[in-house]
C-alpha cells in the first residue's frame, strides 16, 4: 500500500487479501497467508492498515431474507425531482428504514433511484403516498415491483474482469519469480 497526494494505492498483495476477505471474511490471517504464500503477520498488518484507512469499511453478514422468514416485496422507485431540491429529497429518503439504497442519476431529468422493501403492496403504497410524495421537490414517482431476482451481489474487486486478470497475472508472475 502506497500513499501519494493523500490517496492510497493498493498493491497486488493488498488486492488479493481483499479478494480473499470478500470471499470469506471469517477466514483467519493464517489461512489467508497460506493461500497467498505470505506470512500471517503480513496479512494482519495489511488488513489493519486497510481498516484504518477505511478501505475495509466493515465486516457484515449477508442474510438470506427468505430463509429468515421475511416475506417482503422489493420495488425500484424512480423519483423525479426539482433539481434544486434533489439533494434534500435524497437525504430524507436515506433516513427511511424501508429504503435500502438511494442514488441520484441524470438522464433527461434529474432522478433519484431507490430500492424499497415493504411487507406488501399496500404498505409500499402507503409509505410512498405518505412519506415520499409529500416531500418538497418531488415532481412525480414511478415504481416498479421486482418480480424475480436473478443476481444480487456487493461490489467486489473481482467485479472488474480486467483488474482481476491483472491481479492474477501479476501474482502468478510473483509466484514464478519466487520459485
Amino acid at each position: 500500500m502506497k500513499f501519494k497526494n493523500n490517496t492510497v494505492t493498493l498493491d497486488v498483495i493488498d488486492l488479493k487479501i481483499l479478494e480473499a476477505l470478500q470471499e470469506d471474511a471469517r477466514q483467519t490471517y493464517t489461512a489467508i497467508g497460506k493461500s497467498l504464500g505470505i506470512a500471517h503477520s503480513t496479512v494482519y498488518d495489511r488488513i489493519k492498515r486497510m481498516e484504518r484507512h477505511k478501505i475495509i469499511k466493515k465486516y457484515t453478514a449477508i442474510i438470506n431474507a427468505e430463509k429468515a422468514g421475511a416475506k417482503n416485496i422489493t420495488a425500484i422507485m424512480t423519483v423525479f425531482t426539482d433539481p434544486k431540491e434533489s439533494e434534500k429529497v435524497a437525504e430524507k429518503l436515506c433516513k427511511a428504514p424501508q429504503i435500502l439504497e438511494v442514488y441520484t442519476s441524470l438522464s433527461e431529468e434529474l432522478l433519484i433511484i431507490a430500492k424499497v422493501v415493504a411487507e406488501n403492496q399496500e404498505s409500499l403504497h402507503t409509505f410512498i403516498a405518505n412519506s415520499v410524495a409529500p416531500l418538497s421537490g418531488v415532481l412525480r414517482i414511478r415504481t416498479s415491483m421486482v418480480t424475480k431476482k436473478f443476481k444480487e451481489t456487493q461490489f467486489s474487486i473481482t467485479n472488474n474482469p480486467k483488474k482481476l486478470t491483472f491481479i492474477k497475472e501479476t501474482y502468478n508472475k510473483i509466484g514464478e519469480d519466487r520459485h
Binding site: 420495488a75 422507485m77 423525479f80 403492496q121 399496500e122 409500499l124 403504497h125 410512498i128 403516498a129 405518505n130 415520499v132 410524495a133 409529500p134 418538497s136 418531488v138 415532481l139 412525480r140 414517482i141 414511478r142 415504481t143 415491483m145
Partner: protein, 105 residues
C-alpha cells in the same frame, strides 16, 4: 364546521393522485376546492385507481372531516362507473357539495 371542511391543509395532509401502486402523477390537492378542480384534470386511470380503492372517501372523512361528502362518493361506487362517466359523476357530486358549503358561510 363548514369552514373547517373548506380549510387549506398542510402539504403532508394533501391528497396525492397515483395511477397505480407507487406511481405518483405529481398532482395533489390541499383543499376541497383544489380537490374538485383536480378531479377534472387528472387522468382517468388515477380516478379509477383511487375510486375503487376507497381512497377518496377515506381522505374526505379522515382529513377533510366531511362525513356527508364521503357518503355521497361511497354511494357512487355501486354504479360501476369508469372513464369520463366516472369523472363527470365525481365532479358533479363533489362540486355540488363544495358550492353548498361555500354558500352557507
Amino acid at each position: 364546521m363548514n369552514s373547517r371542511i373548506l380549510r387549506t391543509l398542510p402539504r403532508e395532509k394533501a391528497f396525492y393522485f397515483f395511477t397505480s401502486i407507487g406511481n405518483y402523477t405529481g398532482e395533489s390537492a390541499t383543499s376541497l376546492k383544489e380537490f374538485t378542480d383536480k378531479i377534472n384534470e387528472v387522468n382517468e386511470k388515477s380516478l379509477e385507481f383511487h375510486f375503487y380503492r376507497g381512497d377518496f372517501e377515506k381522505w374526505i372523512v379522515e382529513v377533510l372531516e366531511d362525513k356527508d361528502l364521503a357518503e355521497y362518493v361511497r354511494k357512487l361506487r355501486g354504479q360501476g362507473l369508469t372513464g369520463d362517466e366516472l369523472r363527470i359523476q365525481l365532479y358533479t357530486t363533489i362540486s355540488k357539495r363544495y358550492n353548498n358549503l361555500t354558500s352557507q358561510i
